[in-house]
Point group: D3
């Protein structure tokens, strides 16, 4: 069982970028947490975006956390890094999803950079594509053929954005998943650019713990214990 | 259970590039096949490289196939592509390891290109690093802390190369695994550059077949059946 | 009025890669020639692919030329370069479309490389995406919202491939155009990676000739006359 | 007729980066606006840089706007994004030129990032090279053989910089245009790296409007109306 | 004799990134200055990091300067740029080493960006790898086979970090040098990514000055004098 | 004193790509050998290109070797690799210059690939730019302000090409050197893309031999002896 953390700058970012993958994680028995850094108060519409996000996270089977930061002012400074570090530690996350680093939205760039800092000792940090993402060369894909309908449903919870934001186009969301699916030689896919991804050859459930007890097998090589992610970003 | 195919241009290439990962696959219960395209007859020494390779494959717990092509003359032409297609089909491989595409050795480039053609409909094609590899930006890693000793043992079976080839340096092999391990935030790692990699969120053993029966879950989206990999490279 | 040359390794490659753009060129009054280098005889099915390609080119409003080379054996050697040079010269092409350079199909790579050699003195060489294309970072797009239906119709002429080839999936073709359209901030788009593209600020029809008569405006800077593309590739 | 907006961080940046292209636009009948974000008050010399920039813009046939920001302190924050959004909206710009994103000058990086945000729904955003630009891979070029003399004249209006700044070297400016001209297979060229560029196959003047009325031609595909660029960067 | 300046964001950064190269410079008779921008006060442990850094610089044969900035808050703003410009001018540095630009630590990114600005007129700016560096493609290497022991000794002076920071692992430091050594076809190497590097074909000591007196040899080509690095970043 | 080997596919390639750098090497006392792989018999004109190349090499102060291969048919196969290996061994070359790998001319690509194979154990392999080179990101430069006149003189010896080939334009050659000079923050430069370059901190003349006698300084680390470059490409 993995502990998965998906980070977005605004309500709807996580659903757009990796909503179907989060459904796949939930279906596989993983624990999924969504961290939304800002309230998205600069977006179009007057709807309660907190309520929309709550409904969307619920439909993904995910817990929801708010970062409490201000829309359009995110920076990857020490405070943002520490905020994300705190959530990583609390959720014991071993797999982090976050915006791609090259994005025309300053908040997305900041979220990506801060998550990379906060996750500097994690072995699995994957970047998802947003409509505003620029250069993006995914090498890793998740098969979401069974979850694309669920993704669109989660997105629909963000009614204010689906109706009013020119960057949220459900038909493009579906076409994008089909495009990446054809690239991955499957039906529908969500694509990811890893900062790094250690992939598990053995089924996750059979792995005793996250620590490297494998050292028992190969005793003469000492694996250095990692201190908790609490000091020096 | 996966069916894994590791392809190398010469005896010792697979051991150098992904030997420890193959041990990890075997330990996870996967079926591993090694395909060596040439006999390595241009390498240094007079040893029987077929025997060396047989011993190495055995120590990795892998079946061994020979491509029967000539050292230093590999080209990624239709015949080489069909040869690899045949082995993919026979072994029902769903994960292929092969040389990186940018390599100063012409045989390595050819093996990478031909494997990409042959595996054009596969969802998992990963490229490993050789000592002669040039640009290489791995994004995917396998934790081989428990298998680095086994890798060095497999490599030792290629005694003629370990003793005579300037490109095979056991201390560099170990240092390289430790370097990539530090990049992956683990102990020792083998690094991979994916052409594409669909990663499985659910344990492999719980997935009924390789075909997309997921369509049952999401019926309104038709998944197109794939024809066998027998026509048009 | 431009003279446009679109080059494909096999019947259906040009339709898949830039069919809608060719329709847009024809609609703008440009002269369009399609050069198909091989007969595609290694593809699936027993249909007459020459007839299919003729019907497809007709539906695009394009002239058709055959290269007469053999499927799956293309190489970017001097003969292939000269073949393409000949067609460039004869059609007075000033804009060439061809496969992307990084592609898992050896014929596609060869077509791209040979066209770059043959077009080494042209100012507009654009690469289109095929289903087998690997790395692809398009920077230039054509709005094909009005021509996507026509593209799918042209593709349908290649009935043998649409029905039998796992690489030709009409729903993925449409999704791909919508995906790139969203990237280009329009409806549907075909994407291109330029080797180089000089873009014309003045309407094409108002430009006297392709030669650099602009030197008259800026007389002290001598523009060197280009010899015809007949020597040294 | 296009509405062109060229953005620079300091007086002289636009002339150095795309001055000849702006002359070509003016010659083609396009409307050209230059937006200079700061007063360049940290540059060498005591000259009135506002007067210099006014004379330069005049010689390019361009309207001039000032951003009113402070030299050496630009950041791509929401305020800068909104400032540029305002000018895009007012000038109805459909083509934006701005600094390259990878530049050793922090103001240039900030101008590029803010323009990408502000122009996130535009289909034509092109980046020009400055003397301080780092990685730069142009794929699009404008033939400026007829306008290089005019560019040097516009640059001369910035006398304080031409005389005192080590980064402004007229002979290097001309050599650079000739270098890129040889790369583009023409005489003199200005090079551009697109964030994205939709290129028009039909003469611009014959296109009714910038909105997607093409939907009439291809009615069954609904093109989603874009809201004005007033909300959420 | 060169004047070398190595810049790090925190105590221990320079030792980790290019400590052995600095020893090689000292051995070659070059003058070496280390500039540490912050006191590293956010790192683990309670040790006096100023004392540790002083001892480490001493063991490298380098002069030490402090930037006096605050750990975890570095930004590449005008003040940081001017600080580095001042040290470049004072030390007459003609070769600068600094962090790689793509790094998950915000201070490292800021140090790299500010040094590129400050060194915008220098012909030799080289970036070293840190444990937190992300994409890194070194093209230039220094043979440090004779200096790797000295590097580890200098690192040991930062006892608080070696003992407590999960990012400082002496065995990985040595493995990394051996890995890059094998890439460079030597024993042990430190790798560098140049912003630009003019390399000297004649022995440095035989070159009269850093200014371009070579103009005497090739008189008709005027080399433009560079003004001191005191204006406009 | 270095032993420098510059490799070109055709007569005039080396002069165009690194002629001024070779003059700088000769001026520094290095031994320079030029290897021209083919006779350039497919180029324009009827002149004796062997005589032209002899005169050009003479004017560069270089020895000349011919590869004896056929213009427009180069391939990076084992025979070409061995040919280059032989010249490397005979000249004891420790620095190789050759075409860039990404070039629209098939002979240039082949020369680059074969030289990388042949020089797989060398620590200094640098790629120069040709007029037909495509992607090129130089990171290393040589100051050729004093040698640009000599370069143009050497080029003039190839009168048949200067007069007849559209790819050889002396004014573009000079502009290119000035462009790269401005990028390198010097007057005129020749740019290089390294496969790898170990740069020497101590003056070359003071280094006893090319072998790693430095091991004496750092005795506990064993440097593995390299076998001569005679086996397995």
């Amino acid at each position: 069982m993995r502990n998965v953390l998906a980070i977005g700058a605004h309500p709807d970012d996580v659903e757009l970028g990796c909503g179907a993958t989060l459904l796949a994680h939930a279906a596989a028995g993983d624990t999924v947490t969504v961290l939304v850094l800002t309230g998205g108060e600069a977006g179009p519409g007057t709807a309660n975006r907190f309520d929309e996000q709550r409904a969307a996270a619920h439909s993904l089977g995910a817990s929801l956390r708010w970062g409490g930061l201000t829309d359009c002012t995110l920076t990857p400074d020490a405070a943002t890094v520490r905020l994300i570090e705190g959530v990583i530690e609390e959720t014991q996350a071993d797999l982090v999803y976050v915006h791609a680093a090259d994005d025309s939205h300053q908040d997305h760039r900041a979220a990506a950079a801060a998550a990379r800092s906060a996750g500097r000792r994690l072995s699995r940090v994957l970047h998802y594509q947003s409509p505003s993402t620029l250069t993006f060369h995914p090498t890793v894909f998740v098969d979401v053929t069974a979850f694309i309908t669920g993704k669109l449903a989660a997105l629909k919870e963000h009614a204010s954005q689906v109706e009013l934001s020119a960057m949220v186009e459900p038909d493009a969301v579906e076409a994008t998943a089909r495009y990446w699916g054809s690239q991955a030689r499957i039906g529908y896919a969500e694509p990811f650019e890893p900062t790094r991804m250690v992939f598990d050859l053995a089924p996750i459930s059979s792995m005793p713990t996250r620590t490297r007890t494998t050292a028992a097998v190969d005793g003469e090589r000492r694996a250095r214990p990692r201190t908790p992610a609490t000091v020096r970003v």
